[in-house]
Symmetry: C2
Subunit: 400 residues, 2 copies
């Protein structure tokens, strides 16, 4: 069968922090060297007390609030982060780094194994955890001369990192905003991730993970993985509202990762099919399959309670961090019930915690979309924390 | 990469009805010859008024209440159908046929194209609809000398067939029991099916649908499709109850359709991963990929309202059939909201309709599982219809 040849992504020089001594991982191995690619927005105050770390989701990256250098699309959270936005870069110094194990400049399976001319790690990249990602962010934050974070904010897998920050470095985190997330990955979450992985393994261009040797990428399998995941990011209502049962002419282009033109009925396909194929095809141009495997495994092993012998409240014992836990009513991937479990544990731990379920039909992806109630929640929480903190008026948002 | 060689299924001689003149399909083509494989249980009454047609779901078949000749497992609805069971074969004559387009003896993509020594239809098998499946069942029922069905019963895609029976041959159907189903396939339903199809297309052993020429089957892609579909058949609660986050040693067997042993953490995988891999691996031994494509497409095009210009009530206008619409509270693939839409349309059409939502955490598959409330519903509905019908006491269940 024809191999799917995808145009290579443009070579991008990412801004990076270098850690030659590396990191000791949860698996026991020391990964060295480690590089963490990151972006910052706004200005760090002289007191270094206005930094907000934003943690990205599974397929996100550090390009939060600017045009993405590979896709040319706007930053994934531009509507939330920027001057005058809910996370206001006129007040806060915003940091976002590509996760350890990622493929947008941070050390991951595509990185050379040791010397810069070595072959990539590929599937031999060590297994990493969400806590390992946070350890790498911690090294970055400290290298920027920051000892305390005003807030750590993130949705989905980003929210998992927020929780790991709050339990691993509690004294560094003034405020934590875990959004559309959970303190553990459920059996259903794991199940979907496992199907994603099997789709990649089933691709003829997978080559046991050494696809670079053949000059190909497992584009079809990765596209299937993305298509399936994308369904879980939307609600049934959102899919119905966006596509319903509308049909369009089948383009039947057979050389794309997602084709299946042969399965049209009367020469037509459903718009939702066409949309998903596009989601799959465009994704494989920017994401590495081995990173997808590494990061989904890290999510699956996420279980904060297990890290403290089974009681989630113990993980947060003595915390002085202020928490705001956000969920979305139509999110069935990380449903509100999981946020409630987290909130109950935080209450048992005596934490300062507020929580809100935003009413929306947009599903899990609502945290990335236009949700005015959510915007107000983010803005209000950060303002509230600033008012109660010993911050200068510039950061509190007052005059002068 | 290694091809996945699967032991061929044992050759089984299915009981079949032959229709040399074939069927004219919704696509306009006449498919000939047509063979429909079927099984019956119980005895047809002299008045020929006690026949119940059971319609199977996507991957089901005609072996309802006896050991399956290929898998050796018990019939898929043995707990529901048999002597003294809710669908009581001491009272009723039960018929179940393998759907048109299937792979358990009825004409489908694996059937020879014309003469018995011709090559298989493969992807050139004509597109069929749920109504085409029902047309084939109608031919079978008439060939058995039956002019009226006491009831048509089915879950999931089987329920779609029930609805097509009630709208296409209303005068033949005394009672209809659509279970965990819908009068149309939703955008989310279509989306999941499309991912299944792309998984099959992505398999190196797919060979454009002519896999038999290479002596292989697209086992990996089909397994991925089945794994994903299987998640949609269960609820999040059921997956949590059955597996939670329990782990087991990775077996790491690389020659199965689902392997991924390389992605264990500390040599362990989650039990839910192992379970899904088993679901995928065992499925490919009994199901044909081209049938999977044909049948999922038929489901996607199901839209009874569209067949009557958009108003679902019109499709049932003047019906004298008694309906019992059943849904399950934790079924998110065919949620109760879709059953309610159907019930409202039936009410508008003036139909005799009762409906029930069974409380369960078992998800969509609940109709196949141990649900005493559901059993009582089936038994009660059939008894009620028999009491109001002009049937002899033997069928009504009374003495004498």
């Amino acid at each position: 069968m024809d191999q799917t040849v995808i145009a290579p992504a443009p070579v991008v020089e990412h801004e990076r922090a270098h850690f030659p001594e590396g990191l000791t991982l949860d698996c026991g191995m020391t990964l060295a060297p480690v590089e963490i690619a990151y972006r910052t927005y706004g200005t760090l105050s002289e007191a270094r007390d206005n930094a907000i770390l934003i943690c990205h989701a599974l397929t996100g990256d550090q390009y939060v609030a600017e045009t993405h250098p590979v896709t040319g699309r706007r930053g994934w959270w531009e509507r939330m982060v920027g001057p005058g936005r809910p996370i206001d870069t006129d007040r806060f110094f915003v940091i976002c780094s590509n996760v350890l194990g990622g493929c947008m400049g941070s050390t991951g399976p595509r990185s050379p194994r040791g010397a810069s001319d070595a072959e990539p790690w590929g599937t031999e990249f060590p297994p990493i955890t969400i806590r390992d990602m946070v350890r790498a962010q911690h090294a970055l934050v400290r290298s920027l001369g920051i000892e305390h974070l005003f807030a750590v904010v993130g949705g989905s897998m980003g929210g998992m990192q927020v929780l790991e920050w709050a339990t691993t470095y509690p004294e560094m985190v003034k405020a934590a905003m875990p959004i559309a997330t959970s303190a553990f990955h459920s059996a259903q979450n794991i199940a979907f991730n496992e199907v994603s992985r099997q789709a990649i393994f089933a691709d003829p261009d997978w080559h046991g993970g050494r696809y670079w040797e053949a000059g190909v990428i497992p584009a079809r399998g990765l596209a299937v993985a993305r298509m399936m995941a994308h369904i879980t990011y939307l609600s049934e209502d959102a899919l119905t509202r966006k596509f319903g049962r509308r049909v369009r002419k089948s383009d039947g282009t057979p050389n794309q990762p997602c084709s299946g033109g042969s399965l049209s009925m009367f020469g037509e396909i459903f718009e939702v099919e066409s949309y998903l194929r596009h989601q799959g095809s465009s994704f494989v141009r920017r994401f590495d399959a081995n990173s997808y495997l590494t990061i989904t495994r890290a999510m699956d092993w996420m279980d904060i309670a297990a890290e403290s012998d089974g009681d989630l409240a113990d993980a947060f014992a003595g915390t002085r961090t202020r928490f705001c836990v956000v969920s979305f009513s139509s999110d069935w991937l990380f449903p509100t019930s999981q946020s409630r479990t987290l909130v109950r544990a935080l209450m048992r731990a005596g934490a300062n915690v507020s929580s809100v379920e935003i009413e929306t039909d947009k599903g899990h992806d609502a945290f990335l979309l236009d949700e005015p109630d959510f915007d107000r929640t983010v803005r209000g929480f950060l303002s509230g924390v600033a008012e109660h903190a010993d911050l200068p008026a510039r950061v509190r948002g007052g005059a002068g």
